[in-house]
Amino acid sequence: MNKERSKVIIIVLNILLGMLWIMPIYWAVVTSVKTQKELYGGISLIPHVVTPENYVSLFQYKDGIFFFYLKNSFQICVLTMLLVTVVSVLAGFAFSKLKIWGVKIWTAMILFTIMVPAQALMVPLYNTLSDLNLLGTVWGMVLIYVTFQTPFCVLMMKSSFDMVPNALREAALMDGASSLAIFWNIYCPLALPGAITVIVYAAYNTWNDYTIGLTFGGSSMKTFNVGLVDMLSADTTVNWGTLTSGAIVGMLPILILFLLLQKHFVKGMMSGAVK
C-alpha cells in the first residue's frame, strides 16, 4: 500500500515537472501560430485562430534572407558531417588496427585539442583563416568545425574498431583479401553504429553553434542562428510571433534527428562532454 502511494507521488511530481519543462517550447510553438492581435492581447494557452502568417513573414523578412541563412547552415552542416565522418573513420581505424609512425605524438595532439576549446583560440584562428583567404567561406567554417570535432570522434571510432576482433582480419588476409578490401568490406560495416554516433555528434555541434558562425562567417556565410540573433537584437520592428517562429524553425531539424536517433544522440553527447 505504502509502495503504491509513493509511486503515485513520483508520477504526479514527474507530470508537474514535465509540464514545466515542456512549457517554454510549447509556449514558443503557440506564440508562433497566433495572430498579432492575440499575441499582444494577454495570455491564451490555446490560440483562438491558428495562422501561418508569422512563418510567412519570417521567410519574407528582408527579401527572404532566411532562405539564404538556412541554405548556408545546411551546406555547412552537411559538409562538416561528411568530413568529420571520413576523417575520423580513417584515423580511428589506423589508431586501432594499423601500425603507424608517431602514434604517441598524434594521440597526445588529439587529447590536447580536446582540452582546448575553440573559444580560447578565436584570434589566431581568425588570423589563419584570413591568411588562407577562407574568412566568410563555406570551407573556412567547415574546417574549423571539423578541427574541433574530430579529436573526440577519432577516439569514438577507435573504440568502435577496437571491439572488432583481430581474428577477422587474419582470416580475411589468409583468403588473400587486400588491406583496403578488408577495411571496406569487414570493418566499416561493423563500425557503423560508432559512425552514426559521430555523424549525430557533428550535426548537433554544427547546427547549434553560434560563436564560430558569428566570428568567421561574416555576412557572406551567415548561419541561421547568427541571422536569428541579428533580427532578435537589432530589429525592434519584428514582432514576437516572427521571432518565436525563427526559434521553431531553428530547433526543428535537430529535434527531429534527436527523436529518430535518441540512443546515438545521447551517447555522442554524454561521452563528448566527459571525454
Binding site: 513520483i10 519543462w21 601500425k99 582546448v116 578541427t147 574541433f148 536569428l228 531553428g250 529535434l255 566527459v274
Partner: protein, 288 residues
C-alpha cells in the same frame, strides 16, 4: 599490414593536416600574437609581456572574470539541484518513464540561440508570460524589466541555462544511480536499513564521483559562457553582465586588438587548465 609502412599513414593524413593547420599552428601563433601590439591593419609591434601586465590591471577584464565566476557559482548548484531531483524522479519503474526522460533532455538538444530567443519572450517586460503570472498572483505590483538590471538578469539567465542544461546532468546522475548494484540494497534492507538510510549511506557515497564530475563539467561550461549573455543582455547595462569570453570577443573583434585578445585568451586557458586538472582528478576517482 603488421609492419609500419607509409601507406598506413594515408589513413591519418587528413586528420594530421587539418589538426596541424587549424589547431597546432594557431595555438603557437596565439602565444606569439600575445606578445605583440597587433591591430587589424597597420604595424605590428613587439611589446613583450605588456599585454599580460595590462590584463591584470584592466578593470573591465577583471570585472568580466569576476562576473563569470559569479555566474558559475550561481548556475552550477542551481543546475545540479534540479538535475538531482530529476534523476531521482526518473530513476523509477513505471510505464512512460521514458517520456519524462525525453522531455527533460529535450532542451539540451536545441540550440542556445533558440532557447535564449524563447526565454526573452517569456521574460518580455510588457507581454511576457512570466510578468503576467507574477502580476496575477500578486508577487510583483508592476511589470519587471528582467533584462535591464544585473540583479534580475543574472538569475534570469541562470534559470534559462538551468532549464536548458539540467537534462544533461540528469542523465549522468541517472547512469550513476543505475550502476549501483541491486544486491547492495537488498542486503541493506535485510539488515533493516530504511529507504532513506539506504539513500544517504549507500547511494550518495557511491555516486559521489559522478556528482563531482557533473559539477566540474558545469563549471567549465560556465567559464566559457558567451552566447547566453551576448543574446539575452548584450553584456549590458554598461558591460556589467559581460563574461570573460565576451570581453575577449569584443576586444578582439569589436576593437580589433588582436594581441591583447590573444593574451587574455591565454590567461583564460590557464584557468581552464586548472579546472581540467580537477576534472581528471575527479574522473580518476570515478574509475577507482
Amino acid at each position: 599490414m603488421k609492419k609500419k609502412n607509409w601507406t598506413n599513414m594515408f589513413f591519418v593524413l587528413p586528420l594530421l593536416v587539418i589538426n596541424i593547420t587549424f589547431f597546432v599552428v594557431p595555438f603557437v601563433k596565439s602565444l606569439y600574437m600575445s606578445l605583440y601590439d597587433w591591430p587589424l591593419l597597420g604595424e605590428k609591434t613587439f611589446i613583450g609581456i605588456q599585454n599580460f601586465i595590462r590584463a591584470f590591471v584592466d578593470k573591465k577584464f577583471l570585472h568580466s572574470l569576476l562576473f563569470t565566476m559569479e555566474y558559475a557559482l550561481i548556475v552550477t548548484p542551481m543546475l545540479f539541484l534540479v538535475a538531482f531531483v530529476m534523476a531521482i524522479l526518473v530513476n523509477q519503474k513505471f510505464r512512460g518513464v521514458g517520456i519524462f526522460r525525453t522531455i527533460y533532455f529535450m532542451p539540451v538538444v536545441i540550440s542556445m540561440t533558440a532557447s535564449a530567443d524563447i526565454w526573452l519572450w517569456i521574460y518580455n517586460e510588457l507581454y511576457g508570460v512570466l510578468n503576467h503570472i507574477l502580476l496575477a498572483v500578486g508577487i510583483v505590483d508592476k511589470p519587471v524589466a528582467w533584462m535591464h538590471l544585473p540583479k534580475t538578469s543574472l538569475p534570469a539567465v541562470c534559470a534559462m541555462v538551468t532549464w536548458k542544461m539540467a537534462g544533461f546532468s540528469m542523465l549522468m546522475l541517472l547512469g550513476a544511480f543505475q550502476s549501483v548494484d541491486e544486491e547492495v540494497y537488498q542486503s541493506a534492507s535485510i539488515d533493516g536499513a530504511s529507504k532513506i538510510q539506504q539513500f544517504f549511506r549507500i547511494t550518495l557515497p557511491l555516486i559521489r564521483p559522478t556528482i563531482g564530475l557533473s559539477m566540474v563539467i558545469s563549471i567549465i561550461g560556465s567559464v566559457l559562457a558567451f552566447e547566453q549573455f551576448k543574446i539575452m543582455t548584450a553584456g549590458g547595462p554598461s558591460s556589467k553582465t559581460q563574461t570573460a569570453v565576451y570581453y575577449i570577443y569584443q576586444t578582439s573583434f569589436g576593437h580589433f586588438k588582436f594581441g591583447y585578445g590573444a593574451a587574455m585568451s591565454m590567461i583564460l586557458l590557464v584557468i581552464l587548465a586548472v579546472l581540467s586538472y580537477f576534472q581528471f582528478a575527479v574522473m580518476k576517482d570515478k574509475t577507482e
